[in-house]
Symmetry: C2
Subunit: 527 residues, 2 copies
């Protein structure tokens, strides 16, 4: 991954003339791209790790796996939110972990945690580095003498595949593509394709309750996790004895979403399925978002079984955001675009497709055929690259997301749109607020917002005000502060409202039991 | 419910001549029924509640809702396991709660918990009283001056029904039939039908992670819970802001399965669906259990979508246990009987039925038509009544259950059968060990065992040894100590092995935060 942008430099998405014209006309952004900064010129806060500590940590992981070089530290300095990227590209002195450790074994991690606990060194577990909520920030406060980044990349094995049960056990550092490759060689697939898929790791998916674009078919990542291992300062947790159990509270669900504050997830055992024989595609047009949302609801509550189902609102459809190759070009459809995909055996997908199309047609949908759905699939990981180009061109671009009950979807969508528009207007810019539904449940759905505006003043502060207004609107309208981006440092102030003050006390009690010295990912998740 | 047997006296199931002959021939049980004991003659430990405490508790709930009468205490003395019923029908002095409180409001419960915390009085939350794992035992230890039973029956309302989202909020004391009646009047259904359905409550379903016979279609109860409210000594928890969330660990999953040790669940918000238009039925025969289990696995992993799917093994099929009206009579089929049901709209059930039958036929199944499936449905809540008659006739009869991955099903089934047979042979009786799969998941299934043997010596001790052997076999073979019966007092010694010593420490930390005085359901769940 690039140090100051999303992902693979070769996959960069330069802005088309169409987008440049749109930016200029709608937002007053001139669209000239900044020159690429030189990473060696970035000023990092000097490493605070003493030689003694460095030598002790090297003794645990080996000298080649304890890195304090400028680029190593820079590449682990944080995640990939818009504020992260703006900060990374800025000229201020930047914070970074004091060292990057690459342990290879559970015992190494246990030893690191023990050493760091004894010497007030904070530990930030690091998977793919794709957090967009400040989940990787090297926060020290007054309590710590140093911060290390614990990179799980060496936990990269497929440990076992049980083809009868449809389960695979992976090291937590296995990335999305590596998992699909390792399984694909054996004829299996995981089916977890979040936007971060190309870089993020299975341990990270578990620690952040990730949800992929195929969640309608294969579930959220937390649905896929059959068991996990976590190394905590207090010992090892091995959780998940059975597919389902009534043996008390489900402690897996405490580690899922724990964001590295309770322990370091080193293994996940996940549900897998045979590589799909067939994929069927169909795109749909709805006259408006309300009609389309009712159609998605009917599909989900009837259980017709699409693998992917998503709906862009009028604004997102208007700029072709769902099909990132064609943004700013001629519209695919008026109204609202919906995408459906069906994976599995030929018979299974045929019946699921037929049932789904019957429901969508009965609810006001018009088929657009295969092509827009294939185009969506082709560009499905492209949006973050587009953000890089927009930021470089002087636009402010960021996303945020929530979920709520179906009955609250209209009010929540209106409230967040209003909050973002008003806050950005206050900063002196018009804003495009685009929205889609990409994860559906029988009782509700996610809402994913993309905001594009002009940068005004300090764009980090500008976005911070807009984000705060949107978060307030989400909570007031009864949504969750995050459906799949997780909490990190950015959503942490909202956790008391999300789970109540008593819920926060429960999290603190679990933290105190598993991480009594409080060294694990401080400043994240728990207020 | 009867004080010394399962359920409704009018639904008693006298033993047929066929069963009596079977008992005599196979187990040497003579089959003469004991006379019905008189509940007024049962000797209860005298109430230890002082007048001062009784008056204080009456002041909270009202005198008419604080009951210390003999029959009130007897009816709250515990659950309905075979040891419970043997003990209840015995002549020893029996323990019972010192008073039964029937609070009507959350504030009453908060006040009761505060009072009891200040005066070392233990509190056992009580729903339908159907625990089969000692979850309601009035355990005092040395720490408590008295034990009260907190009966939730007055929390009996349907608070709201959101037809758009398909969600209903209920008081925790609403029973299974009451929930279906309240929803049915509005055209909806919950679809949760465990064996305890007729008596158990929604709060109890949540507190014990209940799983119903329609779990293939509607999920386990923990899947259905969208949100809940729990009154704890430390305050109120309101959990579940969205259908799904990445806002940290899912704290709902700590209260689900908490068995009253963390707090008193007073409201549950659950997923509901329109009353099914149609039900389709089909029963199947498989040549053996291995073939049948592979067929169920294929159905589940393909996702063909039955509402109910279950498979009896050769022994259970041999005595017609799946269709309780015909036990001991001529066999419906040789080999293994499987039952399938499909609920929903006409189109939906037709396609799900066709897909499922194609998979079952391809995996060696032979259709037996509708009738045996209708017979199963008709008798689906009958088995516990049969147990009453068997116990009265001098047979030992009990059930136990677990779940594991598909790949471990054969070894686990064999190990548990062997453990039960050997332990009961050691006590001097042959044993019938019957087994079925009644809950399926993509990665595994539940195994439910029914044991019938002759009573020998002290039957409580006799069963205790057999149960210990079976539990050991379950844990050694990688199963969970309970798939849907919960932990209570009976499975508590196995929890360290189930979740590890560190997992137990986490549960203790949560308990200390929510119930610092430790008054809630002592002696249950947490070792």
């Amino acid at each position: 991954m690039k140090w100051n942008a999303w992902g693979d430099p070769a996959a960069a998405k330069p802005l088309s003339d169409g987008i440049r014209q749109l930016l200029k006309a709608a937002l007053g952004v001139d669209g000239s791209s900044a020159t690429e900064p030189d990473p060696s010129q970035v000023r990092l806060r000097p490493s605070a790790l003493t030689d003694e500590h460095r030598q002790a940590l090297e003794a645990i992981v080996g000298a080649e796996h304890c890195r304090t070089g400028h680029l190593d530290r820079l590449l682990h300095a944080g995640g990939k939110s818009t504020p992260d990227l703006l900060r990374r590209n800025g000229s201020d002195i930047q914070d970074a972990p004091d060292a990057v450790l690459l342990p290879g074994f559970d015992l190494d991690i246990a030893a690191i945690l023990e050493y760091c606990g004894n010497h007030r060194i904070a530990v930030v577990p690091f998977g793919g580095g794709t957090s967009v909520v400040g989940g990787l920030d090297p926060i020290r406060g007054d309590a710590f003498t140093a911060v290390i980044s614990l990179d799980l990349r060496r936990f990269d094995a497929l440990h076992s595949l049980d083809e009868v049960s449809g389960e695979a056990e992976f090291g937590a550092g296995v990335t999305g593509p590596a998992a699909e490759r390792l399984l694909g060689e054996r004829g299996y697939s995981l089916g977890h394709f979040p936007q971060s898929f190309q870089f993020a790791t299975l341990g990270g998916f578990a620690a952040t309750r990730s949800s992929g674009q195929d969640s309608a078919g294969y579930g959220r990542f937390d649905d896929m996790v059959r068991g996990l291992r976590a190394i905590t300062p207090a010992g090892v947790l091995e959780l998940g004895r059975a597919p389902a159990s009534a043996a008390g509270p489900d402690l897996r669900q405490l580690l899922l979403g724990s964001e590295g504050v309770f322990g370091v997830i080193t293994r996940v055992r996940v549900r897998v399925h045979p590589t799909p024989e067939t994929t069927r595609y169909e795109a749909w047009s709805f006259p408006d978002f309300t009609t389309g949302a009712a159609a998605l609801r009917a599909v989900t509550q009837t259980g017709t079984g699409p693998t992917v189902i998503r709906l862009s609102d009028e604004a997102e459809t208007g700029v072709n955001l769902a099909t990132t190759e064609q943004i700013g070009e001629q519209q695919i459809t008026g109204g609202c675009l919906a995408i459906t995909l069906f994976e599995g055996t030929a018979e299974h997908t045929a019946s699921r497709h037929a049932e789904t199309r019957a429901v969508l047609e009965a609810h006001g949908g018009t088929s657009l055929g295969e092509e827009p759905a294939r185009a969506w699939e082709h560009g499905r990981f492209g949006a973050p690259y587009l953000r890089d180009s927009l930021l470089a061109a002087g636009a402010l671009c960021e996303t945020l997301e929530t979920a709520t009950d179906w009955s609250r979807v209209p009010a929540l969508k209106a409230a967040v749109t209003e909050a973002l528009t008003t806050a950005l207007a206050d900063s002196g810019t018009p804003a495009l607020v685009l929205c889609h539904i990409s994860h559906v449940y029988p009782t509700g759905a996610s809402l994913y917002f993309t905001v594009v505006a002009g940068q005004r003043g300090n764009p980090i502060e500008q976005w911070s005000a807009a984000k705060a207004a949107a978060s307030q609107a989400i909570m007031n309208a009864g949504g969750t502060i995050t459906h799949h981006h997780a909490v990190g440092a950015d959503h942490r102030p909202w956790m008391s409202r999300e789970v109540g003050e008593l819920g926060v006390q429960v999290l603190r009690a679990v933290k105190a039991t598993l991480d009594p010295a409080g060294i694990l990912n401080p400043g994240k998740l728990i207020p």
